[in-house]
Structures are given as structure tokens and as C-alpha cells.
């Protein structure tokens, strides 16, 4: 079976090391949550996977494609949605999706039908022809999410996807992600809302100081942290990150 993502020995140093000797494997059809305290290296890791930041060392394979040797092929099956929506205020959601579909070379007729469907699902149909400049942060996040899904990526990478969303929108996005995973898609997300990871993730990775401290299902993490079955992810997370924190 070809893994959705294999990361080996990933290293990145800016003014100080951000990611160190990181190994990560994400299986196809799973929702993987990457957790960690602020500055742990989560976003840097995901940016390297998305092809935005060049690693100093290591390898990245996305569905069998070497992402460093053939970035275009890797990007063709990947989507990246950061916490700051990558949209254009002066374009309408429909125009934005037209542009994104063009970037991924999606057949125009299919792209348009998919854009309309996505905007409807995300509750943005009535705003489809209105410029994004007056949108709330949550609405912009939803437009960006539609952009990430327009080319039906095999691997969807989301950095803090629920930031700025109200309760109803957050539920909508969670349902969409779950439906995507149920349909065989692969999702990697970072979040500070540990309940989301606890409820949704098939496996969880905990990263601190640029290193992967623990990885697995919640039960695996509990046993790694030496805690009981009743402990929440929050307890486990705090225990593991406190142990793994540099002295």
C-alpha cells in the first residue's frame, strides 16, 4: 500500500532549529492531527510538505511521489489551507474558485459545477457573486476551504482550520472533513482545540521543539504517557509536552 505521506529525517533551521530529524507517516484515508505547543514546528513541517518551505535535510513522499524531486506532481494531488485564508478580497468566491481551478488545471465545466456545489455545501451560495472584501474571517476561511477542495485533492493539509469559525460553521467544516475521510480522502490538520483532535483524528502526532514526541491513537498516547484510560487528550498532551520540553 502506498502511504499518503512519508516524511523521513526532516530538518529545518531558521535562526534556530525549527524541525529536527522528523519522521512521520500518514496512511491513506485517515485523519491525522498534528498537535504541539506554540512554536513546536507544526506549521513549518506542514509548509515543507506543501512545498512552501525547502527543508535543509530529509525526504518527503506524497502518495509515492518524491515531493522534493518532482514538486509539481506532488502538488497536483495536495491542497494546503493555512489559518490565514489565501484569498483575494476583490474577487468573488466564484471567481476565486475559477482561478484556483485554473491553477490545478481542472476541466472548466467540471470545475464550475464543483464550485457551485462546494459553495452551497459551505453555505456561501448567496455570497457567490459578492466580493470577499466584506466577508468575516470565518467566511473567508470557508472560501479558502472551498478552494482547497476544488481539485479534489488526495491529501488535504489544514493549519488551524477552525480558527475564526462560529459554532455552526465549525460543525459544518468538521462534518465535511469527516465525510472526506469516510470517502477515502486523507486529511492532516493542526489544531489547538484538543477536543477536535480527540473526537475526529484516527491518529495523533505530538510535536515539540521540532521533534515528534509521540504518535498513535489516543489509547497509544495514553499508554506512552503512562496514564489511565479515563484521561483526556489534554491530560496526555500536557504530560507528554512537559516531559519532552527542553530542559
Amino acid at each position: 500500500m502506498t502511504e499518503a505521506l512519508i516524511v523521513r529525517g526532516l530538518d529545518k533551521t531558521f535562526s534556530k532549529p525549527a524541525v529536527r530529524e522528523l519522521d512521520l507517516t500518514v496512511h491513506p484515508g485517515e485523519l491525522y492531527a498534528l498537535l504541539g505547543p506554540n512554536g513546536a514546528g507544526k506549521t513549518t513541517t506542514l509548509r515543507m510538505v506543501a512545498g512552501l518551505t525547502k527543508p535543509d535535510k530529509g525526504s518527503i513522499s506524497i502518495f509515492g511521489v518524491d515531493a522534493l524531486a518532482d514538486p509539481a506532481a506532488a502538488k497536483a494531488v495536495t491542497a494546503w489551507a493555512p489559518d490565514e485564508a489565501m484569498i483575494y478580497d476583490r474577487l468573488t468566491p466564484l471567481e476565486y474558485l475559477e482561478f484556483v481551478a485554473g491553477l490545478w488545471n481542472v476541466e472548466p465545466r467540471h470545475a464550475k459545477a464543483r464550485a457551485v456545489e462546494l459553495l452551497e455545501t459551505l453555505g456561501l451560495a448567496s455570497e457567490a457573486r459578492r466580493r470577499c472584501e466584506g466577508f468575516s474571517r470565518g467566511m473567508k476561511q470557508k472560501v479558502a476551504l472551498a478552494g482547497a477542495l476544488i481539485h479534489d485533492p488526495k491529501l488535504l493539509i489544514l493549519d488551524e482550520p477552525l480558527t475564526g469559525l462560529d459554532a455552526a460553521s465549525a460543525r459544518l467544516v468538521k462534518d465535511m472533513l469527516q465525510a472526506r475521510v469516510d470517502a477515502g480522502g486523507t486529511v492532516i490538520l493542526t489544531t489547538h482545540i484538543l477536543e477536535v483532535a480527540e473526537r475526529m483524528a484516527d491518529r495523533i502526532g505530538i510535536i515539540a521543539g521540532g521533534r515528534l514526541l509521540a504518535e498513535g491513537t489516543l489509547d497509544t498516547l495514553r499508554s506512552q504517557a503512562g496514564q489511565g484510560g479515563g484521561d483526556t487528550l489534554e491530560d496526555v498532551f500536557l504530560q507528554l509536552t512537559a516531559e519532552g520540553a527542553p530542559a
Binding site: 502538488k75 494546503w80 474577487l91 471567481e95 481551478a101 491553477l103 465545466r109 466584506g134
Partner: protein, 516 residues
């Protein structure tokens, strides 16, 4: 009581000056060395010119006669319109740029103090721009025997204060008449029109039938020599103030300061209300985009081209800033056609063609900066599988297309009247626009669209390169139109060499962008 009492005018002004200074120098810790060398060379050049002027004018006494008074009035009017263009744009922007405005208005500082300081900042900024150019040119003359010419600086200060008061009042009047959504656009367009007012007025004379070869000043000199220029006594005051006569100088300064104080203090409350009303006004009033239900664009090039053209057309603030160049380009192209129609040849056609070519490069360069360097979502493009070259080609096409459309009609008319001139001009304009676009591809400097005005400071090398290459191509076109084609190859070759020197490989561009 301390002079910088917290919450006072001086304290707030110091804060404003500090922010402006940091905005100017903030990102140039390393890249600023080249800019400093360039600016120092320019200053040295201007100072040398100033010393030559100073030596030439030593012992000269400016006569207080109708011609000199008329020239002084025309200079004042030109300076005032240029200043008004800047202050009107700055006053309207002050309403929309949130910055620290919300913080200041939520503090106990009276709104009139906030506006007073902000307006003082605008006036100081405008005056500084003029002083930068005037001081090295006239400073030596003042030192070399004309100390009373210091009055010129007083006149400039008075004009800056008056222009700020007028700009502020105009912006607030517009706000009242047409509301927050349209004020920004209309004010920016008005600012562009005001900035080009003198050029447009002189060109209207030409378009209406006057001979193009006679400038406004030449016509003034002719009429003065014929004794037809009549100046009322008060019309001599600007000249006298420039020459340091105390009473006219004090009166001009008092008029400027009085108008400034009146506008800044009386509009304070309204300014606060207007600034609050702009919050989200543009966005919330944005109507749905009309248009038929058309199909999506196919592929990277078409989708990117459509996106860039939409973004250019929908950014009124940016458009108005490019408009200033267009206001010079289109009338010049029309006059070129008109001169050809009148059978004017030689210098008039060659000069006109050269100017069109130069301006085509400048407009294309501005648009290329917007499409290439001011990309709003670079990460989106970076995570997509689209080839960088396809994206660049589409962005370059989006910058060149408006220039082609602007020149299409005047050049079509010219083609009918003077086919050879039209062909040379079209070729030169196309080359110039393409070259300036390519310079922006090779020397991208990521920036925000809102920083369009400051882009020259951020990438002075690319700006200088654009000016030099488009000037060389303008020279080549002018020579070709004048029938001196063999000579045209010289500036053309220099332009080609400059482009070869400026060229950067994809890897070099990517490396620079990664470091930016």
C-alpha cells in the same frame, strides 16, 4: 510642564514623525546601502547643478516686472496643484487607513488634536518633498549672494499649508456629498487630475489648435514682451515674498497658516465621524458582481490573466495612481496623431513618438509591479502545480494588455495619417512596455498593493532600470521617426545591452524571492 506632555500636540506629532520615519526606513537595514549610494549621487548631481546655477546667478537681481511676476505666479500655481494632488490623496487616505486611528479616537485625546497632528504630518510630508528638490538647486545661490531668496522656502511652506487645508476640506466635502464608498475613488482620481492639471491645460490649448511647438512659458514671454501681460498689484506679492520682502512673506505665511488652522481645527469632529463611518463602508456597500453566467477560464494562463485583469480593474485606489501616467500618455499620443494630421514633421513627430514610447514603458512597468510583485496570495501560487513561467507570462500579459488598449485608437489614427511614424511608435511602445515588464519579472520585490506609491523606494534599482531602458528606446524611436534610422541603432543597442545585464535566471529570481 514638559513640552512633550502625553496627549499633547507635540507629543502626538513626535509619535507621528517616529512612525513615518520607521515606515520609511523600516525594511532597508541591508538593502538600503545601494539606495543610499544612489540617492547620494543624485544629491551630489543636484548640488553640482545648484552651484553652477548659483555662480551663474551671482550678481543678478530679479526685476519686479510683469513677466517675472507672471512666472512666479505660474510657479506658485504649479507647485500648489502638485501639492494639492498629494494632500488630497493623503487626506482621503487618512480616513480609510485604520492604522492607529481607532486607538487614538478611543482615547481621551480630542479628535481635533488628532486631525491637527495628522494634517500637520501631511503638510510636512509635502513640504519635505519640495525641499528635497529645491534646497540643493537653490541653496548655493542663496549662499552665494542672495540670502533674501530664503523667502522662497517661506512661500513653499505657505503653499504646503494652504494645499493641506484645501485637500482636507475637499476630502471632507466629498465625503459629505457622495459618501464613504465613493469618496476614496473620486478623491484619488481628482488627485491624479490635479497633479496633471498644468500638463492637461497646456495640452488642451494644443489640442484645440495652438501650435504644439509653443510652450506656456514661451507664450507668456511673447505676450509680456508685447506688453500684453497685465498683473494687478496683489499679483506681485508671491514674487516679492520669494525675494524676501517681509510684508508679502508674512501675509502669505499667515494666509497658509490661517487656512490650515481653520480647516484642521474646524473639521476635527467631522473627521472623527467620517473616519468611523468608513469602517467597512466600502466592503459592505460592495454590490454583487454583475455579468452573464459565463464558463470558467481554461488552464493556468487564462485563469491567471482573468484574475489579474479583474484585480487591476477593481482597485480604484491603484488605478487612480496609474491614471497619472495615463493622463500624460494618452494626450501625448493624441497630439502625435494631430501633429501628423497637420503635416507637422521632424522634431514635433519625433519628440511626440519618443514621449509615447517612454510613457508606455512607465505605465507597463507600474502595472507589472502590481501583477508581479504585489501578488496578494503568493503561497497559493507556490502550493499549486502551475509552472512559474506560465504564471509569469499571464501576469506580464495582464500588465501589457491595458497599455495596448490605451494606445490602440491613437495609433490607429496615426497609422492612417503617418504610417511609418505609427509603425515606429507602435514598435517602440511595444518594446518599451515589454522591456519594463521584463525588468519587473527579473527584479521582483514582493510588496503590498497599498505600498504602490512607495514601490520606487523598495526597488529603486528596477525603477532606475525602467527609466533608463524606456528612455533609450524612446530615443531610438524618436531618431527613427526623424528619419535617422542608422543612428537609432545606437540607443537600441544600449537598451539591448542594459536588458542583457539586467536579466536574471529563474533560479536567481527564485533565490531572491525566497530571501525576501
Amino acid at each position: 510642564m514638559s513640552l512633550l506632555r502625553p496627549g499633547g500636540v507635540a507629543w502626538l506629532l513626535a509619535h507621528e514623525v517616529r512612525l513615518n520615519f520607521r515606515a520609511l526606513t523600516g525594511k532597508r537595514a541591508m538593502g538600503g546601502v545601494g539606495a543610499m549610494i544612489g540617492l547620494s549621487l543624485l544629491a551630489l548631481l543636484m548640488l553640482t547643478g545648484g552651484v553652477i546655477i548659483g555662480l551663474a546667478l551671482r550678481g543678478l537681481n530679479v526685476p519686479v516686472v510683469p513677466l517675472s511676476a507672471a512666472i512666479a505666479l505660474a510657479c506658485c500655481a504649479t507647485a500648489f496643484t502638485l501639492m494639492l494632488s498629494q494632500t488630497l490623496a493623503a487626506a482621503s487616505e487618512a480616513l480609510y487607513e485604520r492604522g492607529d486611528l481607532d486607538l487614538l479616537f478611543s482615547s481621551p485625546i480630542p479628535p481635533r488634536t488628532v486631525l491637527f497632528v495628522r494634517a500637520l504630518g501631511v503638510a510636512t510630508g509635502v513640504l519635505t518633498v519640495f525641499l528635497i528638490f529645491v534646497t540643493p538647486l537653490l541653496g548655493p545661490a542663496i549662499i552665494l549672494g542672495h540670502p533674501h531668496w530664503l523667502g522662497l522656502f517661506g512661500v513653499l511652506a505657505a503653499l504646503a499649508l494652504l494645499a493641506t487645508a484645501t485637500g482636507l476640506t475637499l476630502a471632507m466635502t466629498l465625503f459629505r456629498l457622495i459618501g464613504p464608498r465613493r469618496t476614496r475613488t473620486v478623491a484619488q482620481v481628482l488627485a491624479a487630475l490635479t497633479g496633471a492639471a498644468f500638463f492637461l491645460v497646456s495640452q488642451i490649448r494644443t489640442l484645440m489648435g495652438e501650435r504644439a511647438s509653443e510652450s506656456l512659458f514661451q507664450s507668456l514671454a511673447r505676450e509680456a514682451a508685447e506688453g500684453r501681460v497685465k498683473i494687478p498689484p496683489i499679483g506681485y506679492w508671491p514674487l516679492k515674498a520669494m525675494l524676501g520682502e517681509p510684508l508679502p512673506l508674512v501675509v502669505m505665511l499667515a494666509i497658509g497658516a490661517g487656512a490650515f488652522a481653520l480647516a484642521a481645527l474646524s473639521l476635527g469632529k467631522r473627521f472623527a465621524d467620517a473616519a468611523a463611518a468608513t469602517q467597512g463602508a466600502e466592503a459592505s456597500a460592495a454590490r454583487p458582481v454583475k455579468g452573464r453566467d459565463r464558463a470558467f477560464a481554461r488552464g493556468v494562463f487564462a485563469a491567471t490573466l482573468a484574475k489579474e485583469l479583474r484585480l487591476i480593474l477593481r482597485d480604484a485606489s491603484l488605478l487612480s495612481q496609474v491614471l497619472l501616467r495615463v493622463l500624460y500618455l494618452v494626450p501625448t499620443a493624441v497630439i502625435l496623431s494631430r501633429n501628423a494630421g497637420h503635416g507637422d514633421g521632424g522634431a514635433a513627430l519625433a519628440g511626440g513618438a519618443g514621449v509615447v514610447v517612454f510613457l508606455a514603458g512607465q505605465v507597463a512597468g507600474s502595472l507589472a509591479w502590481i501583477t508581479l510583485s504585489a501578488e496578494e496570495s503568493p503561497d497559493l501560487l507556490a502550493v499549486s502545480p502551475a509552472a512559474t513561467r506560465s504564471l509569469r507570462r499571464a501576469k506580464l500579459a495582464a500588465a501589457l494588455l491595458p497599455v495596448a488598449l490605451l494606445l490602440a485608437v491613437p495609433l490607429a489614427v496615426l497609422l492612417w495619417l503617418a504610417p511609418i511614424t505609427a509603425l515606429w511608435t507602435a514598435l517602440g511602445a511595444g518594446l518599451s512596455a515589454w522591456a519594463c515588464g521584463l525588468i519587473n519579472v527579473w527584479h521582483q520585490k514582493p510588496g503590498k498593493r497599498a505600498d504602490f506609491k512607495r514601490r520606487r523606494g523598495a526597488s529603486w534599482f528596477a525603477t532606475l532600470a525602467e527609466v533608463v531602458v524606456s528612455a533609450l528606446l524612446a530615443g531610438a524611436t524618436g531618431l527613427a521617426v526623424a528619419g535617422l534610422s542608422p543612428w537609432a541603432t545606437i540607443p537600441l543597442a544600449f537598451a539591448g545591452l542594459a536588458m542583457l545585464a539586467l536579466r536574471r535566471s529563474d533560479a536567481q529570481i527564485a533565490k531572491v524571492l525566497r530571501m525576501a
